[in-house]
Symmetry: D2
Subunit: 283 residues, 4 copies
């Protein structure tokens, strides 16, 4: 038996679930988990299905043909994958190690369905961590003059490694609009703030000065419009008046790695679908 | 258009979703929200569907006939309701007012899809609250000698009011096994503890003595096996060393009312399905 | 024995605690709870002490004289109160009832050390709630032309009732700068958003459009600079993609009442001290 | 300037704070943070003070002499340390790596005021992690027959390394009563459950079977009475009906490392004081 995961979205109209479930039933597929959602505002319908199908009954081509016919009928954006297949991932970092550490640790523990095919950094600082986890490390320096070259190198690396996902794990460079567009829906960024609060630099200093009682972090898809991409996950931590900026930062980093790991996990499990500037998360 | 909510469970096998979605598609029904789950341990499949159907195309009898045929084929436990129809509810209390207050307030605010058809108490203390909210109040005293009579009176009231749900909102009497069985799956209790911790009496004093750092509450279906019924919802609140038993109790009551209101809301929206001693909650 | 609560702040320098504790020891006072904090940024020192003093040893005048001498020496802002004395409070509302309901309920349950001496509203809608709880209700309509008069009436009411605290419990009028200044540090507002996100109108619609995964509320002291007053408490609730604006609002109101009740409780217990635009909260 | 941290507890009576603050004032000490608490049940008073003292005015011996005189007068248990001095710590593990990883990572990041002087394990599995972080690794196998020897070796190691703290970071051996007594108040254990729920083996399987909606972890001081030592910190994570035992375990491990790291941090910062079977945590 192969366990497949199918995700799709299309304009909402009657018959979608029946058509999909019918196609799966035609392959003697057994649905083990499924969620659907119709977004009233956008008029789009979203669906995620996990189904077991006997390989003797239907191989990938057969499954794709059956679902492809339905997809065409309803004008679906769709994807099909095998449950648990590690998603080929490039992790980009600068000098802060907490997110890289956690992603690498969770991959090795079998907690995260990713295969980190490259760690890319504009600094050398985190090479030892990549080495410890046996991950290929690429130093791609970035200056104002070399930014275009650096991004070209990154794109080449994404192609060569056949990476499906790029994680900005505290990568302190702003991606160009072109790169964002080229990788649209495939780049997850962790923002060190509870967006839309405290956009921009030094959020923990801003948070401290404002005297907030909770600090947070936001994982979102990167878009050309900085800090405005669709939000995947957010979380907060309670702070107290005595906490210094340094302590806020330490607590913030703990929230960041947690939020980023969740967002990467859900993305890798095909649980996150895009609805314009919002996400549908089938947890 | 009528918006229907269908819930069902049955032994898991291929074709369930296709059959249900096919039946709805046959009525030109549009699925707006749906969730499915196959429980590996119990081998049962659970489904909740909201679908819009044009009344001109199919009235209730037609919808029931179409779904009934599918239900019979798969051996389903199923229910069909109109989205938003208030569930006829009896609330049972003793002297603590926080849960009754909150349920009544939320009903009146249109936040809770219930119709509180009776407030029953073994004390007179909360009659003014029932009066304020315009809810019928029934004083049914209970002594050791009159317990059987009191339960009979309760059952009669449930029948006369055609109540579908009984909420034990800090009702400090233990229901008999017979009553639990008679109302199985229709009685929600709020337990003033994070079960399975601190079963039994005076949980906040127990929690204080043990020096826990979090206190909680548990909403569950009542069963003959006290404090062991299927859990619907739990939540906790952080406490500190300086909090007295009285303060723990105040914080605990705040958690209790929140947890109970959520459990009642989800039940009333047909989001809670039973899987033996566990619940499936389609939030 | 009388249990006193002393709060103070002053420029930080050695000897403050020794002087205060020495003065209390001189009255045979027993400190039961105390917290201190020196804010590095502002250079100010904050202290809150609860101490039991035998009335036969020292009455209020004696206690005040002993502490007043220390206060003068160190240039302290200070206040002295009896633990548990209800703070005379005016609650201002418009048409949303959830916060008023909760404050009134908690006062009656003995959970909140306040004495609501007046409910003031620019609408008649919530009079029945005030009546139910036996609270004096004052209808003070506000139009553009009568705003100055309305604020004058409010100030008179505050004086006549000797109110120490004004709670803006979803009062949908902006207070004038003059009124904010006249009542500085004595007005608590509940803001229906996780500040500094979503300032301004319709925050839940903004939150929904932005697709956030958490919504929150903020209780803060009102200042002339709208939505920028010192934050006392914040909390959040997790939301999901399927939640409508109406559901966000319902969940938001639940957070609002919780956050406001905590802020009022801590203020009434003299646990909140001002450090410029930030608060020190001795929980 | 040296910044000292003083912790103390003693029978509650008037004059304690005055005496301590007076002694510090006599050394021209400046109190920067302080908390006190009188526990009504046990009749004990607890205090934690951070104070800056000019080394030219008073060296350690002078400070100790001044405070020692006060301590004797009031019958205090007390300790004096320099703020930020790393606490010499032995970490004990078996095969689960998540807690060791996190403690080592946080030490290296300067987030945890500990100096891990030894990692001890009854398995070889985690040696590579110790190596990566440059921590001495000691393999001390344990069988039923060698348990006494193994514990003797552990005690020798504690002595030789002058360790002040032993952290049981998922060490799957039960310490003997003798060892617990020998190291009383110096051993922190992370329990993979929200105590007092699910004591004993396989808590995540128990939690899954019971269908709980929250899982948690508890950090506590180890005592001879298993799982009953004073609780330092607890936290929970929300789970859903679809989460498998394996997923509960993964989420549980994330809670475990977080809760353990907090408990170790607070202990290392001298924020945790013992009040019989409860803790006072001055956060």
């Amino acid at each position: 038996m192969t366990r497949w995961v199918l995700t799709l979205s299309c304009p909402d109209r009657p018959g979608i679930v029946a058509a999909v479930a019918g196609a799966l039933a035609g392959l003697a597929g057994n649905i083990t988990e499924s969620q659907q959602f119709g977004a009233a505002e956008s008029g789009r319908f979203f669906m995620r299905v996990e189904a077991e199908i006997d390989e003797a009954v239907a191989d990938r081509a057969t499954v794709e043909a059956a679902l492809g016919a339905v997809a065409e009928q309803f004008g679906m954006d769709w994807s099909l994958d095998v449950v648990g297949r590690p998603v080929r991932t490039v992790v980009m970092v600068s000098t802060a190690s907490h997110c890289l550490h956690d992603l690498a640790y969770q991959q090795r523990s079998g907690r995260l369905e990713v295969d980190i095919v490259a760690v890319v950094s504009n600094h050398e600082a985190l090479r030892p961590i990549a080495d410890f986890y046996g991950l290929p490390f690429h130093h791609v320096p970035v200056t104002r003059d070399t930014k275009a070259e650096a991004e070209a190198a990154l794109l080449r690396l994404v192609e060569e490694t056949e990476a499906e996902l790029v994680v900005l794990a505290r990568y302190m460079q702003i991606l160009s609009d072109d790169l964002c567009r080229a990788l649209a829906g495939r780049v997850i960024n962790i923002h060190h703030s509870f967006l839309p609060s405290f956009k921009g630099a030094r959020p923990y200093a801003q948070a401290h000065q404002r005297g907030v009682k909770l600090i947070g972090a936001t994982a979102h898809y990167a878009t050309a419009d900085l800090d405005e991409g669709p939000i995947i996950e957010q979380d907060v931590e309670r702070v107290e008046h005595g906490d210094t900026v340094a302590e806020l930062q330490a607590m913030g980093e703990d929230v960041e790695r947690r939020v980023l790991a969740r967002a990467v996990r859900w993305h890798a499990e095909h649980r996150v679908l895009l609805d314009g500037g919002r996400t549908v998360v089938f947890r």
